[in-house]
């Protein structure tokens, strides 16, 4: 019976119940679109501005999957901020070294603990250098026995003279780099959690109208004369408490799984906490508020100011202060 009474605002409830699906579908679309044009960012550093660097780049078929920054000095701060996955530093006189076959330990490879796909770039770079090394070795061999042969000509056709099996091992000297905790990819999912809160906050305002309507219609008066002053209010509170908790668990797990491909129960608990406190705020307001206009004014003011604080902290324009926790969405950033 109580559910029939609470079901008065059908569309609000339908919207509420579809929230997890809605958020996960939108989130999925969002992710899908962004992964399409993601390229692995790497930096290729050549402090000596050699011609061979350009040639190596054109040898590699890396355009589709890598976003290569070509620099002349090591942009370490870029690596620290996580803007590139790795930095490769070419040695002096690379061409000479290739010709001479002295390639041991010559390329420095900086990466951080979260670098994943830079290994692919390493393979590409290695194979480009290796091809050149093989060709020059071939030219060297031929010239040793046939000193009148043209080195460059042999080099060009080197691959035909020699089995293309690796002769040199290119040493990649791996330098682990500590990067700071800020992960710019995570902003989107924080934004989604904020969006979910705004959504729930607005829906709660509609649901609180039910309480105000009953108050206006003297239903609470009627109930209190039969000794049930608060039973309907409590039924409202606990029904939506359970419903919102379940919906939030699903949505939070969904959003986290989409963005981080795993979920953390602590984060789920924070999301549920935010929603339950929102419900509590409205529940307490329903005792003091008489008019619908007052409800909407408070809902709007709090919603906007809490969001502003959320974004100010998010973009580091405001440092976190303990009293910001009265603005529920700021908990997302804890």
């Amino acid at each position: 019976m109580i559910f029939k009474i609470l079901l008065q605002q059908k569309w609000t409830l339908i919207l509420l119940i579809s929230a997890p699906i809605l958020f996960i579908i939108i989130g999925y679309q969002f992710i899908d679109r962004t992964t399409d044009d993601i390229k692995v960012p790497v930096a290729l550093v050549d402090p000596y501005e050699q011609n061979i660097t350009e040639q190596l780049l054109s040898d590699m078929s890396t355009d589709e999957s890598f976003n290569i920054t070509h620099a002349t000095s090591i942009p370490e701060e870029v690596l620290e901020r996580g803007e590139v996955e790795a930095i490769f530093v070419l040695p002096e006189d690379l061409e000479g070294k290739i010709r001479a076959g002295e390639l041991e330990g010559t390329i420095q490879w900086y990466r951080h603990e979260r670098s994943v796909f830079d290994g692919l770039f390493k393979e590409q770079l290695a194979s480009a250098i290796m091809t050149r090394a093989i060709r020059s070795e071939a030219a060297n061999l031929v010239q040793r026995y046939q000193s009148d042969a043209d080195w460059n000509e042999i080099y060009e056709y080197g691959l035909r003279y020699l089995e293309p099996e690796p002769i040199f091992q290119i040493q990649f000297e791996s330098v682990q780099q500590q990067i700071s905790q800020v992960n710019h990819d995570s902003e989107d999912w924080l934004l989604f959690r904020w969006l979910f809160w705004i959504f729930i906050w607005s829906i709660l305002a509609f649901l609180t109208q039910l309480l105000l309507n009953w108050k206006e219609q003297n239903i609470f008066e009627r109930l209190s004369t039969i000794g049930h002053a608060n039973s309907l209010r409590k039924a409202w509170f606990f029904t939506f408490l359970v419903l919102l908790a379940i919906l939030t668990v699903f949505t939070s797990v969904g959003i986290q799984t989409l963005w981080l491909s795993s979920y953390n129960w602590m984060t789920v608990a924070i999301d549920v906490g935010i929603v339950i406190f929102s419900l509590l705020i409205y529940y307490l307001l329903s005792f003091v508020i008489q008019k619908r206009e007052t409800l909407w004014t408070i809902a709007l003011t709090y919603g906007v100011s809490a969001s502003v604080v959320f974004f100010l902290i998010q973009y580091n324009l405001l440092s976190f202060n303990w009293w910001f926790s009265i603005f529920l969405p700021s908990w997302i950033l804890v």
Binding site: M1, K4, Q8, N218, I219, E221, S224, T225, I226, G227
Partner: protein, 232 residues
């Protein structure tokens, strides 16, 4: 059953009721009579225990749990619920002794045809009937009706009054507010005459024709004169 001693009620510096005394016994039928703004609704809320008086004491000696049936001036019903479900909801909350009473009430008030209709599908008069029925589901000992008959047609009013008279004869105490002389004539109550928050007189129905209120309030006297023609 219900005793009021020196009830005074103030709100925002205004005295809405002052020094109201009265006693209502089991089986009594009392009407609070007076012009608009006299304080009738406020007094009946104090009787119901919904409003605490600023001064004075209201005491009730009930025989059972949930002795009060309060029917507010506005129709206090759940939107979107059928008449049947409204009644069921209060039935669940109060767990009345007999369903016979409820069946009898539905029949007497002529609600059988509209049991499956939702509140917003009902006319104003029908809502009034449901409003009355919902307040009586638990078979209260003391029934407090605040203008329960507004906008109800004569036939429906007759159904309601016949039912209330039957209950009153069976021992239910009734206090009601109305501006409708037809209702008063039908129930023949003791009249508590109120004006400006003051109790001017308490008269038995039999002595109403001899009531002279000219000294206290001309407005009240006019209300009686207009209506009394049929009685005098």
């Amino acid at each position: 059953m219900l005793t009021l001693e020196n009830i005074t009620y103030k709100k925002r510096g205004q005295t809405l009721l002052s020094q109201i005394n009265g006693e209502i016994n089991r089986g009594d039928c009392v009407t609070l009579f007076g012009p608009n703004g006299a304080g009738k609704s406020t007094l009946i809320k104090i009787m119901a225990g919904l409003v605490k008086p600023s001064k004075g004491k209201r005491s009730i000696q009930p025989e059972h749990k949930n002795p009060i049936g309060y029917v507010p001036q506005q129709t206090a019903l759940f939107k979107g619920l059928t008449v049947r479900d409204q009644i069921k909801y209060y039935q669940k909350l109060t767990k009345p002794k007999s369903n016979e009473f409820i069946d009898d009430m539905i029949l007497s008030l002529g609600l059988s045809q509209i049991l499956n209709k939702r509140i917003e599908q009902l006319s104003g008069g029908m809502k009034r009937k449901v409003n009355l029925a919902v307040g009586m589901v638990h078979q209260p000992e003391l029934l407090l009706l605040d203008e329960a008959f507004v906008g109800v047609d004569l036939a429906a009013k007759h159904d309601m009054l016949t039912w209330l008279r039957k209950l009153n004869n069976q021992g239910t105490t009734i206090v009601f507010i109305t501006h409708d002389w037809y209702v008063i004539q039908h129930l023949q109550p003791t009249m508590w005459v109120l004006d400006h928050g003051v109790m001017i007189d308490q008269v038995e129905w039999d002595s109403v024709p001899y009531l002279n209120l000219n000294r206290q309030s001309q407005a009240l006297q006019k209300m009686f004169d207009v209506n009394m023609g049929s009685v005098r």
